[in-house]
């Protein structure tokens, strides 16, 4: 309780004048961390995990705010108008920040944004209900081959990672399934659990929160997940699908180089904190450590990959 009062007090006096400072001293007051989505999704939960360890690493708290809208585009289009003093950072997601500008005018271009660290991804995975007729991915593929279009797959949103994965799966497996977009992970998982759709393309994290109620048929990670040692990867089953939603931290473009590096270092250090690693892995997240120095290369590779995906989705010619 004492700490709670102390932090409350710290938050209240946080309006201290902004003195010039060096990157080593940064931060000297709480940082605002904007999540461009509603609370409760993977972006929020992973940021809350970071928040719990943030003060220990950076010496200051981080305050999470939500600015949902337009699948994140509302917040990202405003990122560069925020002060570049390092005290305002924003969650950033792939493939969202590549696909959205391709799909329409959303107020920013992929190159406008300045991610400093991508710290994890949630692999796509195919789920079915516990009592589903599909025990393995092979069952599902065979059924889909015999009944084109009949297999319905719930997923989170249109032009999303789930949507891309579903299309790629159709292509690689030579089947035709119907992708049904829902307004988020929660509603799409509800649809699978309630039997509204026959299966779902969701993120592996849902497998943890639902326990035995759902069966994961395959996961789009490089290796099997620590939380699900029995679930095969798509690669093992012969489908080259690796990916999901990547999540990172971005800063306004006016943020100086040394602060970008410093924030990237803070996120890296949190990524190496054992308690954080344990919580993330237990929840089904896959940690990545793509810091500021590797960012250009990483983003370029993703743009190439998702531009191909965008063609398959039919959002570009």
């Amino acid at each position: 309780m004492k700490t709670a009062i102390a932090t409350l007090f710290a938050a209240l006096v946080a309006a201290a004048p902004l003195a010039a400072q060096t990157a080593e001293e940064f931060p000297t007051k709480p940082i605002t961390y904007i999540i461009p989505f509603d609370a409760g999704g993977e972006s929020d939960i992973s940021a809350r995990f970071q928040q719990a360890d943030w003060e220990g690493v950076a010496g200051q708290q981080v305050v999470i705010q939500y600015q949902p809208g337009a699948g994140g585009a509302q917040a990202w289009s405003q990122l560069n108008s925020l002060p570049g003093d390092g005290y305002t950072i924003m969650g950033i997601n792939m493939p969202h920040t590549v696909l959205q500008p391709l799909a329409g005018s959303v107020g920013y271009a992929t190159e406008d944004l300045t991610p400093v660290h991508y710290f994890h991804y949630t692999p796509d995975a195919i789920f079915v209900k516990q009592d589903s007729q599909f025990a393995t991915l092979e069952d599902l593929v065979n059924y889909a081959k015999e009944n084109p279009g009949l297999v319905t797959m719930a997923g989170s949103g249109s032009n999303s990672s789930n949507n891309l994965a579903a299309i790629r799966f159709n292509e690689l497996a030579g089947v035709q399934t119907t992708y049904v977009p829902f307004s988020g992970t929660g509603p799409s998982i509800t649809a699978v659990l309630g039997g509204s759709t026959m299966a779902g393309f969701n993120y592996a994290t849902s497998g943890v929160s639902q326990g035995d109620a759902l069966r994961m048929l395959a996961v789009a990670s490089d290796e099997r997940l620590p939380a699900f040692p029995d679930v095969p990867t798509f690669k093992e089953l012969g489908y080259d699908i690796v990916g999901g939603a990547y999540r990172g931290v971005a800063v306004p473009s006016s943020t100086p180089e040394e602060l970008r590096q410093r924030i990237s270092d803070i996120v890296s250090q949190i990524n190496a904190t054992p308690s954080f690693v344990q919580k993330m892995e237990e929840a089904g997240f896959v940690l990545t450590d793509i810091g500021y120095d590797q960012m250009d290369e990483f983003v370029a590779a993703r743009i190439e990959e998702y531009t191909a995906g965008a063609k398959a989705l039919g959002i570009i010619e």
Partner: protein
């Protein structure tokens, strides 16, 4: 009896203190339009990291339930739902306050909220695992029909004016489509403007549609905002007697609220609307609804607080948050290392049950706290002179609309929609159907398109829509709600006619004489404008993906057809006596001045800064709202109060809620 043992764990002094502070904070935040339960819970989550999990949960749950309840104050006293859950509270709460029964309305809201909250929490305590199945039984089809059911309430809300009510609903449905579509991913009707990408924000739209007209009318006359109460005070004893006499309504509304709370994505606003509609349908005197019937306040408030307990059921049992605050609380639990899901009630039973007991205690605490705060709020609204009340309410609307996304665009939209709503309302297009369309539009659209996709995949489209047991139940309820008011109205008129004609007349061949109404030119102009809007929507839909275009096209056709009907209806009426041309009286001048000040305020805010524009606008509205000759000393006191109110709120937002305030070139 293990469950009862956890009651003792919840009863520690520290937990009781948390529940108390949480309820007080929540009530105050909920009472301020735009500051939502979600925001309060989000800001306070980090402080719970250092607490014991059950204690942290109790604090968050108390704030949440307090905020849902607090929304009733603003709804009753200034006709603005403090939270979207209180939309239907305005229907009867504000008319009650207007006629001097505001204190009674607050008492009823408090008692109903506590009763609803307790029933929801008891359902959570006793029946959570089986009830969670309700969340899974609701598929896209059921959500679609639930939204349709919500829309049928328009028929009840706009008796005698159903056509204009339906047109209003189409406007609301259209507004709900603006922005990036969830299904299909199209960018729709943003006119290339960044600010419309994320759509029309529900909260700022509600503030604008309901509250701006109230302020405009407030400054237009010298009458007090609310009639002073004859008996004074909150009339608590009377409130208890009335609630007891309406126990069936309390119980029915609480059960509806609990069940709708369980449905992820439906939430308190829909629970309030559905139970309001049910209360009206089962009432012996449905016509008095909307004119200050206490049953309306009781139904909404019992239902929306019942959603708190109901919403925790899928959150805790399935890990699927029922409402946005539930989602934040879910995140807080995960950080604490608690595994949500089917096993939670057994593995972490001590935490869960301690929390549920804490929530129950917090709900009960709401009774004394609510009556205390309510007494103060009511007294101050009545006592504060108009010259201070009007600018304060105006400031609250701007803050509320701004605070949702720290975005001036929302405040500008709020003022614009508000002025538009005042004009539309003058010509019979009421705001409530528009709000209903806006609330239910995205649920209806997503449910419709998903059902269509699933039905098409299996080739059983009609069965998907019409042959599922729960859907049939909802459809039947919707039809009853739709037809009943029309039938009741017909019967009432018929009875009146029979009485007038004498008892000897037989039933056969009698026709009901139409009420004599005269032609109304502005209505025709508005309807013609809406026909053009409909055509614009159709043209805009041509470039969209099929998934994104189906709903806009349907709504556009309905809008055009209904607007044409309005025009035909008007043309068939006899032309009335020539209307007195525009009256340039005192009230009109003040209304226009106020509208101009509000618009200038939100337009200049990004340039000049939040605080400076607020201070200037506050002073200007004081002058506009003042009707008396006031000594200089009183002016000085009022001005000082204005400065304190403006800077106080500014400080609160900048430093406690950590919002980015527009600084501009001044401050």
């Amino acid at each position: 009896m293990e469950v009862l043992g956890y009651l003792l764990d919840a009863l520690t002094p520290f937990n009781l203190l948390l529940a108390l502070v949480g309820v007080v904070l929540g009530t105050v935040i909920g009472a301020l339009p735009g500051l939502s339960a979600t925001m309060a819970v989000a800001v306070l989550v980090p402080f719970t990291f250092t607490m014991d999990p059950a204690a942290g949960l109790i604090a968050l749950g108390a704030i949440y339930t307090g905020a849902i309840y607090g929304g009733a104050y603003a709804a009753i006293l200034v006709n603005t739902p403090g939270t979207p859950s209180a939309i239907a509270t305005t229907f009867d709460g504000f008319p009650m306050a207007k006629r001097g029964d505001g204190g009674l309305a607050i008492s009823l809201a408090t008692i109903a909220s506590v009763a609803g909250g307790v029933i929801g929490a008891v359902a959570l305590l006793v029946l959570a695992p089986p009830l969670a199945k309700v969340a899974l039984a609701f598929g896209p089809t059921e959500y679609f029909w639930l939204a349709m059911f919500g829309l049928t309430l328009i028929a009840a809300l706009s008796v005698g004016n159903t056509l204009k009510g339906l047109v209003g609903a189409c406007i609301g449905l259209f507004l709900s489509m603006i922005g990036v579509a969830v299904v299909g991913g199209d960018v729709r009707y943003t006119m290339g403007m960044q600010r419309f990408l994320s759509g029309i924000d529900l909260t700022s739209a509600i503030i604008g549609l309901y509250c701006i007209p109230v302020i405009l009318d407030l400054v237009a006359t010298r009458d007090p905002h609310l009639q002073p109460s004859v008996t004074g005070g909150l009339r608590v004893a009377e409130g208890f007697r009335m609630s007891l006499a309406r126990k069936v309504n309390v119980l029915r509304s609480s059960v509806i609220g609990t069940v709708i709370g369980i449905l992820p994505g439906a939430g308190g606003s829909i629970a309030g609307l559905v139970s309001y509609s049910e209360a009206r349908r089962s009432s012996r005197d449905p016509d008095s609804f909307g004119k200050g019937n206490p049953d309306g306040v009781i139904a909404t408030e019992a239902a929306n607080n019942a959603t708190v307990g109901g919403g925790f059921i899928p959150t805790l049992v399935l890990g699927i948050p029922g409402t946005p605050p539930d989602a934040i609380i879910l995140g807080a639990l995960l950080v604490q290392g608690i595994k949500i899901g089917p096993t939670l009630f057994t593995t972490d039973g001590n935490i869960v049950y301690t929390f549920i007991w804490g929530l129950l205690i917090a709900t009960l605490l709401m009774l004394p706290i609510g009556l205390l705060i309510g007494r103060y709020a009511y007294a101050s609204i009545i006592k504060v002179p108009k010259a201070v009340l009007a600018p304060t309410v105006a400031l609250l609307t701007i803050i509320g609309a701004f605070a949702i996304h720290s975005n001036v665009d929302d405040a500008q939209l709020m003022v614009g929609l508000g002025i538009l709503a005042w004009i539309l309302n003058r010509y019979g297009f009421q705001p409530s159907p528009i709000v209903l369309g806006l609330v239910l539009g995205s649920i209806a659209e997503q449910g419709f398109v998903q059902t269509w996709l699933i039905g098409n995949a299996s080739g059983r489209l009609p069965e998907m829509f019409f042959n599922r047991p729960i859907s049939i139940g909802i459809i039947v309820a919707a039809l009853i709600t739709l037809i009943f008011p029309i039938w009741a109205e017909w019967k009432a008129r018929r009875r009146a006619q029979l009485e007038a004609a004498g008892e000897a007349v037989s039933d056969a061949g009698t026709e009901i004489a139409p009420e004599v109404k005269t032609r109304d030119l502005p209505s025709i102009v508005i309807a013609a404008g809406l026909v053009l809007l409909g055509i614009g929507i159709v043209i805009g839909a041509r470039n969209m993906s099929m998934l994104g275009a189906v709903f806009p096209a349907t709504i556009a056709v309905a809008l055009i057809a209904l607007s044409v009907l309005v025009i035909v209806q008007q043309l068939r009426r006899p032309p009335g006596p020539p209307r007195a041309s525009f009256v340039w009286d005192e009230g009109t001048k003040r209304r226009i001045a106020l509208g101009a000040v509000m618009l200038g305020w939100v337009m200049l805010m990004p340039e000049l800064g939040f605080l400076s524009t607020s201070l200037i606008a506050f002073a200007l509205i004081m002058v506009i709202a003042n009707y008396d000759s006031v000594p200089a000393r009183t002016w000085a006191v009022w001005m000082a109060a204005g400065v304190v109110i403006c800077t106080g709120f500014w400080w609160l937002m900048a430093n406690v809620l950590m919002l980015r305030m527009p600084a501009g070139i001044l401050f």
